[in-house]
């Protein structure tokens, strides 16, 4: 198939060779380096394919070997054009294809962002648009890729590295996100430290600011632990204050509680094995469903999508592609969980909620899980004891 595709443009003939010395004819063709292939024996001769250019030179060989040669059919571009010259649609279609291949890769028909996890893609798209990268933009107007890279990296702070790849009619921005660097600590703004939660103070080391608590004190959420307003006057003198950026390590025993309602029922989604396939067409970044989306076939379903972009080695993405959507039927079953399963899941959920509010480097010292159950509905309460830094900074008004 592939070989024939390459041989077709130059043209070839299928000939029948009949005669006593047909093998001699073959050998003479080989001696003259004629291109012959697919030699098939017939009742009294051979049928073979021969390059059109070589066929024009076989007359002396035919005479010498004493065979008779008959053309069965002719193939090739020239023959094809001659045969179909009356058909107007062919040249028009050919012209359309040529224009398509010339014009389409000159413009951007699809903008893709790869590698985005937390980055604001809408913002990145806006930045790209400002730099001339948008659907319908001319590729020749995209001048400086380094400038685009810098605009993205400096415009969206979550992006550490970026590069724009132009793949045919597709502009693909590859980005690498990085962790946000910690903010530079401000040590000049006056601040006080207050308690983030109720607790029983175990360690109170004050480096800057006026101490308000000592080890053994019980504090409530919002109580001032260290004040940024420091009195700098002697008794009897006029009041005078200095305002500082408080710094302290206030470690306290705390109790954190979360409560939630959980049921012993869960819905399981299990594939039945039935599925339907629907093809949608992606044309210049927009999706069309000529055969329907298929979402009304099954009551419950999952959709698995595979993309096939049309691309050629030199032209790259050609501006269209197909999507194969597999709609998989799902049966939903209600499953009843055991008490232990409910409590285990409830504990995970409640623990996650508590841990969101716990200070850094907190140590868990104890936990208690209690519950009450009524008709498969569990009211679960998780109490966790920590030893943690409860101080949080708030601005101190001067």
């Amino acid at each position: 198939m592939l070989k024939n595709t390459f041989k077709f443009p130059l043209g070839y003939v299928i000939i029948e060779v009949v005669g006593k010395n047909k093998e001699r004819f073959l050998n003479m063709c080989l001696t003259h380096q004629f291109r012959i292939w697919e030699v098939q024996p017939q009742a009294d001769g051979f049928v073979m394919k021969m390059a059109s250019g070589d066929f024009l030179q076989i007359r002396p060989i035919v005479r010498k070997s004493g065979v008779s040669v008959k053309i069965i059919s002719k193939h090739g571009t020239g023959r094809f054009i001659k045969k179909h010259r009356q058909r107007v649609a062919f040249p028009i279609a050919g012209l359309f294809v040529c224009v398509y291949f010339i014009l389409v890769p000159r413009y951007i028909w699809c903008v893709e962002i790869d590698g985005a996890r937390n980055a604001d893609t809408d913002k990145i798209i806006e930045i790209l648009k400002d730099k001339g990268v948008y659907i319908g933009a001319s590729k020749k107007d995209i001048a400086d890729l380094t400038e685009i890279k810098n605009a993205v990296v400096f415009g969206e702070e979550r992006v550490n590295w970026a590069w724009l790849y132009i793949e045919g009619a597709k502009a693909r921005l590859q980005i690498q996100e990085g962790d946000m660097p910690p903010a530079v600590k401000d040590k000049t703004t006056p601040t006080s430290i207050i308690a983030s939660t109720d607790g029983f103070v175990r360690i109170a080391e004050v480096k800057r600011g006026e101490r308000r608590v000592v080890t053994g004190d019980a504090v409530n959420k919002g109580d001032i632990l260290v004040s940024g307003k420091v009195s700098v006057f002697r008794e009897g003198d006029p009041e005078k204050y200095s305002y500082v950026n408080s710094d302290a390590r206030i470690i306290a025993d705390t109790i954190r509680t979360e409560e939630g309602i959980f049921t012993d029922k869960e819905i399981l989604r299990i594939k039945t094995g039935n599925n339907k396939k629907r093809i949608s067409i992606e044309l210049f970044g927009k999706e069309y469903n000529p055969f329907g989306t298929g979402e009304d076939i099954f009551e419950s379903y999952d959709i698995v999508t595979k993309n096939y972009d049309a691309a050629l080695p030199i032209f790259g993405y050609l501006g269209f592609g197909i999507k194969l959507n597999t709609i998989e039927e799902i049966n939903e079953y209600e499953n009843t969980l055991t008490k232990n399963e409910v409590l285990s899941r409830a504990k995970e959920v409640l623990e996650e909620r508590i841990m969101k509010n716990v200070g850094k480097e907190a140590e868990k010292t104890d936990e208690q899980l209690t519950y009450s159950e009524s008709g498969g509905v569990y009211t679960v309460r998780l109490v966790m004891n920590f030893r943690e830094d409860i101080g949080i900074k708030i601005p101190q008004e001067e």
């Binding site: 093998e23 050998n27 080989l30 380096q33 292939w37 697919e38 030699v39 098939q40 024996p41 051979f46």
Partner: protein, 86 residues
């Protein structure tokens, strides 16, 4: 002898045919000297010192060049005949 001593490929030194058989479906022959007989069930190919006789059915020469050829079909045997003896 020389080829063996120098560890050189014999097909190069002695101009022997190199024949690769792929199962009973395809034969690739290099260094042939022409076709002596060709029909649906038998092909006799001349080489430097002998004739390679391939028997089978539905034999087809798919590629035919001055130095190599590829034959497809269902092969039954590949025999060697000394030149001058049939």
């Amino acid at each position: 002898m020389i080829a063996e001593k120098l560890s050189l490929p014999k097909d190069v030194i002695l101009d022997l045919p190199r024949i690769s058989v792929c199962g009973d479906r395809e034969i690739y022959i290099e260094n042939h000297k022409g076709i002596m007989e060709y029909n649906d069930s038998s092909i006799r190919i001349k080489t430097d010192k002998e004739v390679v006789h391939i028997n089978g059915s539905e034999l087809r020469i798919i590629v035919l060049k001055s130095d190599r050829m590829v034959i497809n079909g269902v092969f039954e045997s590949v025999d060697y005949e000394k030149i001058g003896r049939k």
